[in-house]
């Protein structure tokens, strides 16, 4: 994906379109596809701020580190999660829990960069987010999907971006999911809009005289056409919640995140490739337990309903769902009743889209000082000795697994200033793949 190739690709794509701004909106067929026919897509539930593993999927209830956490049994035998998640407990058997993700990045921005891209930040290489790579490698047919193929819902601080792949792979940002999109409608009546577009066509043709190739190559025309197609597309409705039952809306929850999860399902149903839904507020340095309870009120219903809803609509087998944040939180509770940043191990939940189900991977050290037993390494962090989790899983390995399941070669490369960089420097975790 060198700049030259990008330019040429854009040109080729542009050549398919005539110089007309009056593309009719096409009916999407993606919404009708189900099961193995359906192309796979991805939903990332982004837990912004670093969720505590102890108050979510790895409670250690009753131990010194568990704090006030209590655990409940789930529909997956042998798995207990925080009692704040009774609804997720009913669905989690469809998914897998990883309790041994590891990172070295304990700062929000750097940690987010690492977990969103699979690479630690370097001063100059700008890695694309995993979801941007997915959107680039598995492009949607613009005739079928007239809305952006990569969407970020809920206004997280560092939305997924295209990095070196180009800004056309940045996630399309929607700050308030479920509401009318900003700038998505023409501010004037149809008659004036037609006059504007007719004039734009005259002006564009005049400019292309003597620079046809250069003008085609800008992709300007194509972008404007796509934007217009989106403005007049029925699929814009997917960003709103009209037509969903009150019961289902209530189950997802009347919060930005709940609405975001429901919009995510609607977008996926319309053929969108990758959606990120952010839940802010996880940075619980103070009063961690209460903070986590507040978060759970948004997450529990939304996450559980998303899984059951996808399953009911036969979309779960073709949709990977990943719930993850930038790092975990300290085993110790601090003097303010909070937990601080802890990248050394943390948890995520992942499943659907060809993932195995019901796996519990990794085990974290309840005291965080390397007491898991022989063979478990400790490492020195500052002046402290930090125990490693059992069966550590690297974020790049998790992403290599996701790429593989989506039919993308994890060793595929993007270019940064003529330097090749693989999509992931990890290896797929085979046991996480169904029928592998």
């Amino acid at each position: 994906m060198t700049p030259e190739i990008t330019r040429r690709t854009v040109l080729q794509a542009a050549a398919g379109f005539g110089l007309s701004f009056a593309l009719p909106a096409l009916e999407s067929r993606a919404a009708n596809q189900r099961g193995p026919e359906r192309e796979k897509s991805l939903i990332v539930l982004w837990m912004n701020g670093g969720p505590s593993q102890l108050e979510t999927w790895d409670p250690h209830a009753g131990s010194k580190t568990g704090g006030q956490a209590t655990a409940i049994k789930t529909n997956l035998p042998g798995l207990e999660i925080s009692s704040m998640y009774p609804q997720v407990a009913e669905q989690i058997g469809e998914l897998n829990v990883i309790r041994s993700l590891v990172s070295d990045e304990g700062d929000h921005e750097r940690g987010t960069y690492f977990v969103k891209t699979g690479y630690r930040p370097l001063p100059t290489v700008i890695h694309p987010s995993m979801s941007a790579i997915v959107t680039c490698e598995k492009p949607v047919d613009p005739k079928e999907v007239q809305i952006p193929a990569h969407v970020s819902l809920g206004g997280g601080q560092f939305p997924a971006r295209g990095g070196s792949l180009g800004s056309q792979y940045d996630a399309f940002r929607v700050y308030d999911p479920g509401q009318e999109l900003t700038n998505s409608r023409s501010p004037v009546q149809d008659e004036r809009q037609e006059r504007r577009l007719a004039t734009l066509e005259v002006v564009s043709k005049a400019f292309a005289k003597g620079r046809r190739v250069q003008t085609d190559r800008t992709g300007h025309q194509l972008t404007v056409e796509r934007a217009l197609a989106m403005m007049s597309s029925e699929q814009l409705k997917a960003f709103k919640l009209d037509g969903e039952s009150g019961h289902l809306k209530a189950a997802y929850g009347d919060s930005s995140f709940g609405r975001g999860c429901l919009v995510a399902r609607r977008l996926i149903e319309n053929g969108v490739r990758a959606v990120e839904v952010s839940l802010n507020g996880w940075d619980t340095h103070i009063s961690n337990h209460e903070g986590c309870q507040t978060q759970a009120r948004s997450l529990d219903g939304a996450f559980a309903t998303l899984i059951s809803d996808l399953k009911q609509r036969d979309l779960l087998d073709s949709t990977i769902v990943l719930c993850i944040g930038e790092f975990g939180r300290t085993p110790e509770v601090n003097n303010a009743g909070g937990r601080d940043h802890w990248p050394h191990w943390f948890s995520c939940v992942v499943g659907g889209g060809g993932f195995n189900k019901g796996m519990i991977i990794g085990e974290s050290d309840p005291l965080g000082i390397g007491e898991l037993g022989p063979g478990i390494k400790s490492k020195k962090v500052g002046n402290k000795l930090v125990g490693q989790p059992k069966d550590p899983i690297k974020v790049p390995d998790l992403y290599a697994t996701i790429y593989s399941l989506l039919g993308i070669d994890p060793k595929g490369e993007f270019y940064f200033k003529s330097r090749p960089v693989p999509y992931s420097d990890g290896t797929a975790v085979k046991r996480l793949i169904a029928n592998a």
Binding site: T199, V202, A206
Partner: protein, 571 residues
């Protein structure tokens, strides 16, 4: 009580902001004449490119219209388009050397120093706000703008950036260091990377972890040596200083195993500061950073002068001479004087005029060397560098070309046989939209209110359009959110609406004939007159519309021009 104070505070904030923006009002006039010792450098640049084109059988484009060149100058030097007021003055200016004098006029305009300071700041300290309290990007940019406005030599500016001690507020140059500071630790790797990319135009990034795979000259030890130049830096309550008790330490010995021999598993290697070549260029006195700054800016350090020449070329054309702008191949490491002597000798040996073609040049030098030598031998004068480039044939070439084959055109572009079309950056797009919505020049002399509007709208737009930060010289295609923003946003509506003070309203109500309306809209928005078919189309829309009907048509033509590729692509 609180409710009463809030509006006062807001008013005070607005006042403070406006005050800052009116600090240095200066009248802008076109100089009557320009000093003319640029010709040698300009001719050499032209001769080099002509020669390469002849060799490659590339037919250059015709010269661009003067007004289009003026638009390029306004866009690349100030991030806006010429106002109608300026266009009228320019067209009335019939004296010789019109473009040269207008280049100088723009260089003397405070909008130039502010705009260029922001561009350079992006590669020196990035576009983000950085660490809270100890990093003041605004101070850094204002300081840089002052340096450019008073035409301080570029090498001196960079010495200050690298070596200044003191507080980030009172010594703004020190923010180059403080942005790399986090909770008392200095990120030496970040400083090494920035130094090599921003000042030397080369990337040492790979060598942070291992020897460079493609450039055998760059070893990991080179990178670490440069990082160690910042090993004694300390950021404390009194700002940036050097503390002799600090060291740059390494605990990963990949590709430096020999140096780490004998160290235990948990031991770290104290890495001494080194430079990758020509250690004799290091300064003899002062702090380690002062010595290192002397090395970076040494008069024989070709990389330093070539790097800024490439960057300024990139800012003016939208595409650097060598891409990527900050990862250039090694220059031919020969002292300037040697090359100059060689060239003189070959010229003397030439027996026919044909031999006088600088056929041997490409062995030693390219356009960047010509620019770099001229820059270095003229006191590292940034304005002079701009003037030389602005006067080159390449800068004044049309972006239209008779060639219609894609591959052939790639070759022509590669040899600067046609002016490249590149996406304008967000601040150029909004700067142009805002200027086009007024007849008079929006600058430091404009009404406070207008400049406040410009300031706030520009920021909002850049954020929504997508800011490329320090990657702004990489080529990008447009995005759908950008198209939606240009087409449907409130910002677009506000800039095209035909209010009594705005250009569209004044054009609609004051132009007597419809022909005048069309010509004026085109001059204001795209700095040219309409082609016959454009005129015909718009005249047919205008018909005998009067009053509000006429206004809405003018607004719609504005809208079409703002959304055209012509408006958002440099051409």
């Amino acid at each position: 009580m609180k409710a009463r104070i809030a509006p006062l505070l807001i008013a005070a904030g607005v006042f403070a902001l406006c005050f800052r923006m009116i600090q240095s009002p200066e009248a802008t006039e076109t100089p009557r004449s320009v000093e003319d010792d640029l010709q040698t450098a300009v001719s050499e640049v032209d001769a080099y490119l002509d020669f390469r084109r002849e060799q490659e059988n590339v037919e250059p484009a015709k010269p661009a219209d003067d007004l289009l060149v003026l638009r390029r100058l306004a866009s690349s030097l100030m991030g806006t388009v010429p106002s109608l007021e300026e266009i009228r003055q320019f067209e009335a200016d019939k004296d010789p050397g019109r473009l040269e004098r207008w280049t100088l006029r723009y260089l003397n305009d405070p909008r130039f120093s502010d705009y260029f300071a922001e561009r350079l700041a992006r590669c020196f300290v990035g576009a983000e706000n950085g660490p809270f309290i100890i990093f003041r990007r605004d101070r850094f940019v204002n300081w840089l703008s002052d340096q450019i406005r008073s035409n301080e030599p570029y090498d001196g500016i960079i010495r200050q950036v690298v070596a200044t001690d003191g507080l980030w507020t009172s010594e703004p140059a020190s923010n180059f260091i403080t942005i790399a500071s986090s909770e008392g630790d200095i990120d030496e790797n970040m400083l090494a990377t920035r130094t090599s990319r921003a000042f030397l135009g080369q990337s040492l990034d790979c060598a942070q972890c291992h020897d460079h795979k493609f450039n055998a000259d760059i070893k990991r030890s080179d990178f670490l040596g440069v990082a160690a130049q910042f090993g004694t830096v300390d950021v404390g309550g009194l700002g940036v200083s050097d503390y002799a008790g600090k060291f740059f330490e390494v605990d990963d010995f990949n590709d430096i195993e020999e140096m780490a021999e004998g160290l235990g598993e948990d031991e770290k290697l104290k890495f001494e500061p080194t430079v990758p070549f020509h250690p004799e260029w290091l300064g003899k006195e002062g702090s380690p950073r002062q010595k290192f700054a002397e090395w970076i800016t040494h008069e024989e350090n070709r990389r330093f002068h070539r790097a800024i020449a490439n960057r300024v070329w990139g800012l003016m054309f939208g595409r650097p001479f060598i891409t990527p702008v900050d990862d250039m191949p090694n220059p031919k490491d020969r002292p300037y004087t040697d090359v100059a002597a060689d060239v003189a000798k070959k010229k003397a040996e030439a027996t026919s005029p044909a031999d006088d073609v600088p056929i041997y040049w490409h062995e030693y030098r390219d356009v960047l060397d010509v620019l770099a030598e001229d820059f270095q031998s003229h006191n590292c004068d940034l304005r002079r560098l701009v003037k030389v480039i602005a006067r080159s044939k390449a800068f004044r070439m049309a972006s239209t070309h008779a060639e219609d084959d894609e591959m052939a055109l790639f070759d022509i572009e590669e040899h600067w046989g046609v002016f490249p079309m590149t996406r304008l950056r967000p601040e150029q797009v909004i700067g142009s939209m805002l200027q086009s919505s007024y007849i008079r020049t929006v600058n430091q002399n404009s009404h406070m209110f207008l400049r406040f509007i410009r300031f706030t709208r520009e920021r909002g737009f850049v954020e929504q359009y997508g800011d490329l930060g320090d990657q702004e010289l990489t080529e990008r295609s447009g995005t759908i959110p950008q198209a939606l923003l240009r087409m449907n946003s409130g910002m677009t509506r506000e800039t095209i609406e035909s209010g009594i003070f705005q250009a569209s309203g004044r054009i609609a109500s004051m132009c007597e004939t419809n022909e005048d309306v069309v010509d004026t809209i085109y001059l204001v928005c795209v700095s040219r007159r309409p082609l016959p078919e454009e005129k015909e189309h718009i005249l047919s829309l205008l018909g005998d519309a009067k009053g509000n009907a006429r206004k809405t048509i003018v607004e719609d033509v504005y809208w079409a021009l703002f959304n055209s590729p012509e408006f958002s692509w440099n051409h």
